[in-house]
Amino acid sequence: MRDLFYDLVRRNGMAVSIYLMLAVSIWVFLLIILPQLTMLDYSFRFNLPPAKIGGPEDVYTLEQYRYFFQGSGASDGINTLDIGILFKTLFAAVFVTVFDLIICYPVAFVLAKSSAGAKARLLVLALIVPYWINEILRAFAFRILFGATGVINETGMGLGLWDTPIDFIREDVALYAGLAYAYILLMIFPLYNAIESLDRNQIEAARDMGANWWQVHAKVVIPYAKPGIASGMTMVFMLTSGALAAPQILGGPSNLWFTQLVYQWFNSGGNWPRGSAYAMVLLIVCIALVLLVMRLFKVSIGEIKQ
């Protein structure tokens, strides 16, 4: 820490260094660590009326976590509903992440390796422009698109592919499409960055030595782009599993996203400690999953930050 500071001073001078250190400290401690610690603290408390806070009943407890696992029923019951929603959310987030990877990899590869400079920038712009529109508006646009009288149903029926409107909302197609779309850029850019720095000759060398296109990607491009893939997948997965607006707007009536449970406990449930406990569960399970997958594919966190 001290070395880092001296290094900063040497490069940028005292004033800038102090500003940088302060800004980063405030950012990290005040805006990230402190609220999370408060949330962690909340999650180990009872939901008490304001008058009793600080009183003799305000003690630490595992009650909120117990509720997540066992529900309100008997002490040996299992809260299948909430645990089920958590797993469904994780499964859906993994699906969306893999889907994004599959559609983004070719785009990123073409952007990074095939297009000439000016054309590539135009393509990138075309990708960014839709993000000038608010996330909620985009979600509603998807709702319209996938609605009973939406473009997709109209087109499908007009072409005679199906007779009665398909309920894309109830089938969660709209939700998956909306989520996949929402974080596509966060997948494309890390992939693009990773592939862009790959020496073109490596691809040609592999081709020259007899590799077909599939082998070029499997043996040369993907191993090289692995940190970028990990970085993109981590971001998309974390943001998808933590998404709220898209599930609220595009989710089917029977389908709850885990974040919606958290939201309900905080908001309509009025139970902040339980909401905090649920948020903690989601955070920890997601981080654990990411670390597990990274270990499985032998990617270190150090590689990702490159």
């Binding site: 020496d199 490596q202 060398a205 020259d208 030595m209 082998q215 043996k219 040369v220």
Partner: protein
Amino acid sequence: MTKEISLEHVWVEFGEFTAVHKANLNIAGGEFFSFLGPSGCGKTTLLRCISGFQEPTRGKVKIGGEDMRGVGPNKRPTALIFQNLALFPLRSIADNIAFPLEVRGVDKKTRRKRADELLELIALPGQGDKKVSELSGGQKQRVAIARALAVEPDILLLDEPLSALDLKLRQHMRTELRAIQKQVGLTFIYITHDQGEALTMSDRIAVMNKGKIEQIGDGKAIYDHPTTSFVASFVGENNVLEGTVLSNDGQKMQIDAGLGTPFTVESHPAGGPALAPGDDCHLFVRPEALRISKDESSINQFESNFVTEEFEGNMRHIVMNANGKDLKLSLINDGTNAIDANAPVKLDFAPEMGIALKPGELASA
């Protein structure tokens, strides 16, 4: 096994730009053939045509008599060694060398055995488990060659593979490359802008400029009997004098180069179009062909004044001025060639050492 290659009227055009202009040549099996030319002359494009990364706009590339149009680089019997070698940094040395086998579905044990054999060949035995980054420049070079040889291609294509090495290593690798080529007996096609590399290693050389092949021949023919002004000025050092042909009897030519008595040089009927009396010409005389006259009067003699000298140990590179024209003169430092800096010095050259050619583009220094 080696295969011959023939280029038949190969043109490569990128929009308005002609990268290769009607290339026509045959390369025999087992030959060490070099394309020599300045950067942007089209030599790399031609190499990419042979390896399959570039289709000619017109004309044919034939390998072993087979037309290669539509055959991808992964299906051709060629192996390309890139300028930056393009070794895979994430793979071990052995996995690099065995890559061509891996993509052909050869099992791991056989791959490893072949990699070890090739490591033996390039004198790096037992280094298969090292990382690419642990090797020196020369060792990486050899690994790239081993990788290219792994599936026994018929033709090895080398794109300036020595340009990243330092001078000593480069000279060492020249000898080594030539030795490897002799040992494996493959056709080597070598791309370079370094005439030293081309002259020392090649059986034959094609000198290229602006997409055109200017001359094809062995090193001696290219150096001693250039057929165009570009080749004369690009390969080796040369003095160029502008002159007019006075007479040409097919054996000897008389040329007035504005330096007193007309010069006599040999006609080279094999070298390009013949010159007729009255034609303008470029007269080339190499620095090592110019001598300090020992006699008072000798053939092709002219007066000059000392300008400056560069001392290189074994050689002395002297600049003399004759009638306003600077001429380079290379003399062996054997103590016999004293030059009086303050008096006119008489120089001359043998008639067979002067080359008169049609005026053409000169290579920029």
